[in-house]
Each structure stands twice: as structure tokens, then as C-alpha cells.
Amino acid sequence: MQQLFAWSSVALGGGSVTFVGLLVFRRIRLYRLEVERQEAERRLEPLALALVNGEEIEAVDARDAGVLAGLLSRYARQVTGDSSSALAGYFERSGGVEREVAALGDRRAWRRAAAAYLLGDMGSEWAVGALRDALCDGSRDVRTAAARSLGRLRASAAAEELVGVFVTAEVAHGVAGQALLGLGSAALPALRGLTGSDDPRLREAAVELLGLLGEAADSPLLVARLRDSAAEVRASAARALGRLAAEDAAAAVRAALDDRIPFVRAAAARALGEIGGRDAAPALLALARSDHYDAAQAAARALVRVDPTLLAAAGHEGFGPHVSEAVDRAAIRS
């Protein structure tokens, strides 16, 4: 029995030493690889910078190509214009785009996510189709990286899918929103189309984004959404019209002050504060005296901008706590 214990101890000790040895060996190997990579980066930096500036370079071997691609991806995040085009051209010619597109089919989620991310930095439009497909990947990390890259590539063709993943939260909200904002006016046709979607969540997101990216010509489309069957869409439409300071929509937004849902009334009041125009003042004052806290407060605050004279007079006539508060805020600001 004692002998058995002794041999077991020896075996355990030997196993531990071997395991620690393997860990140390692995650590040393990783350190060496990192040193080699850094040395290669220093060596290849002039080549990478020349590529960024649109110069032709000699072909590099496969190992250096990987390091060069990493370096160029970093630079690609910092540059725009001709330099971006030069880098995209290099990645297309050197097979980098093709390789990463193929990696989107890898069985390992981290590799697919890395590829999706890298394709955005490479800046090649060749990757748009594959990245749109990657928005349906089973891994949230891959979908998020794909959304980010589609925004970087300003892939207007992906606008509808990006709104979709934004609404369903299949991608981190901030990333999908940033991607859509990155598309800028290129996203407008898709957003306009989505305001008529059957899904109220899509309509709401599209209307909200139109308020951020849209133009004066979108006002009639947004006014129509003030009569949407979903209250969230009506509130979004009011906010969007406020952001666009759509004066031609003032009457329609004023009418929304009578909406049966309080948060729509509050959104309409805030929007009128942005749009301005004294015509709205009496309706805002009436709402400021109402019982619903948010709507009344929003209306009183909007009055500060719309008609400060009327607000000041009302403040002395006992028009309620929200009007008094707004008068005080206006006094502090002035």
C-alpha cells in the first residue's frame, strides 16, 4: 500500500513538472513569436506607408504578408480618401479580401468575427455581400463585427438589414446605430421605404433615423407617421420633425399635442420647442397646465423657446408648477 502511495506521488510530481515545463515552453514560444512579429512590423513599416500613399511595392513572402496585412489594417482605420482606395486595391490584388471572405465560413466563431472585423478595415466593396450574409451568423460577435464593417464600408445596400438587426437587437445597439449613421445619406432610400413597413419596430427605427439623417424633403413622410397606429412611431415622428426643425410640419405637430398617449404629447411639445413659432404657444400653455407630468413639463420647457413673453406672463398668473419651473429656468439661463 505504502509503495502504491509512493509511486503515485512520484507520478503526480512528474506530471506537474512536465505540465509546468510545457507552460513555460509555450510562454517562451509565444514571446519569441511576438518579438519576431514586432521586428517584422518595424521592417515592413516603410512598405506599408508607401502602400498607404499609393506607391507600388515588391511582393512579400507569405509570412510577411500576414504581418503587413495587420499593419495595413491598423493604418486603414486612420485614413480616408485616396489612401483608403490604395489599401483596398492592395488587399484585393494580394488575395487578402478573398482569404478573409473565406474565413467567414470558418467553424470557429472567433475566426469568423475576426474576419468580419478585418474586412471592414480592408475597405473593399468586394466584401459587402459576404458581410451582409454574416449579419445572419449564429454568433452575436460575428454579426456585430459585420455590422460595424458594413458601416465602415458605407454599404448602402445593407441599410435595410442594418435597421433590421438594430431593431431586433441581434447586434449591439450602439454598433448597429453607428453603422447606420456611417452610411449617412446613402441609407435614406432604404429608411424611407421602411417607414411603410408592416413591423412597427422597423417603422419606429426608420423614422427615428430619418430625423438624424434626413432632410427637409422628408417632412411629409414624417407628418404621415404622426397618424401611425403605433404610439411609439407617432412619438418618433414628432422627435424627427423637431430634429429637422420642420417649420412646414408645425401645424401637424401642434395637432399631436392632443394625442391620447401622453408620451406622444410630450414628444410633440419638445418638437415644437425645436421648430419654434408663436402659433404653438397657446396650445403649449394649455398642455403645460395639464395633469400629465412629462407632457406638461415638456410643454412648459418648449414655451421658453417659443414664446418667453407669454411664459413670463403665465408664470405670474398661477399656471401651475411646470410653468413656474420653466420661468425660473429661463431666468437662470438669462
Partner: protein, 126 residues
């Protein structure tokens, strides 16, 4: 290399940005000096008296606005043109840059070609 080529100070704490700016400027015939933070930028500017400075806004120790203000207070660097390189995109930040005394600004990510064109435009005016 002739020493009469214009000297440009490039101040940024990001190694990649510094490399990109320096490479483009040197390829276009400028000489460059480098700083990695605001303090160093100020010291180099006072010592070397560059013809123009490209300053990152968000730098350690002193930000680009403050460096610009201090450059404007010194007789030796009062007239030195300053281009701010900024990741900030709000109009208020741009206005703050001009109020601090900058001559121009470029938003990151940036086009190295455009940066060079702006440097040429400013130096050509003088």
C-alpha cells in the same frame, strides 16, 4: 538634403498617426520633428521653431488647444501656423480650435493627401 526645406512639427501620441503624417510630409519634401505629448510639442516648438505645427487635439499632459494657446503667447511662435488633427467632430470642438488660435483643422480618420495639401496651402500663403 537641403536644410532650407520647411520644417514641420508633428505632435501625436499615436505611433501610427505620427508615422502616416511624417511619411506623407517627408515624401512631399518637408523636414519633420516629432513630439509625443503636449509638453514635448511645446518644448520642441520653442527650441526648433518649425515653420508649421500639426498637433493632435487629444494628447497627454497638454491638449492641442492648450499647446496652440501657449504657442500664441510666445513671441517666437506667435505667427507659427497650426493645424489641429482631431477625432472630435462636433462643430463646437472645431470652433474651440479656431478660438485657441489654430489656422486649420483636419478630422480623423484623415486623408494624408489632404493634410499635405493643407500644409502646402498654408505655407504657400506665407
Amino acid at each position: 538634403m537641403p536644410e532650407d526645406r520647411p520644417l514641420v512639427l508633428v505632435a501625436d501620441d499615436d505611433d501610427d498617426i505620427r508615422s502616416l503624417v511624417i511619411f506623407r510630409l517627408e515624401r512631399s519634401g518637408y523636414r519633420t520633428v516629432v513630439a509625443r505629448d503636449g509638453d514635448e510639442a511645446l518644448a520642441v516648438a520653442l527650441e526648433r521653431r518649425p515653420d508649421l505645427a500639426v498637433l493632435d487635439v487629444m494628447m497627454p499632459k497638454l491638449d492641442g488647444y492648450e499647446v496652440t494657446r501657449r504657442l500664441r503667447r510666445e513671441d517666437a511662435t506667435r505667427a507659427m501656423p497650426v493645424i489641429l488633427l482631431t477625432a472630435r467632430v462636433q462643430d463646437a470642438d472645431v470652433a474651440r480650435g479656431f478660438e485657441s488660435g489654430a489656422d486649420d483643422y483636419i478630422r480623423k480618420p484623415f486623408s494624408p493627401q489632404e493634410l499635405c495639401a493643407r500644409v502646402q496651402a498654408i505655407l504657400g500663403r506665407r
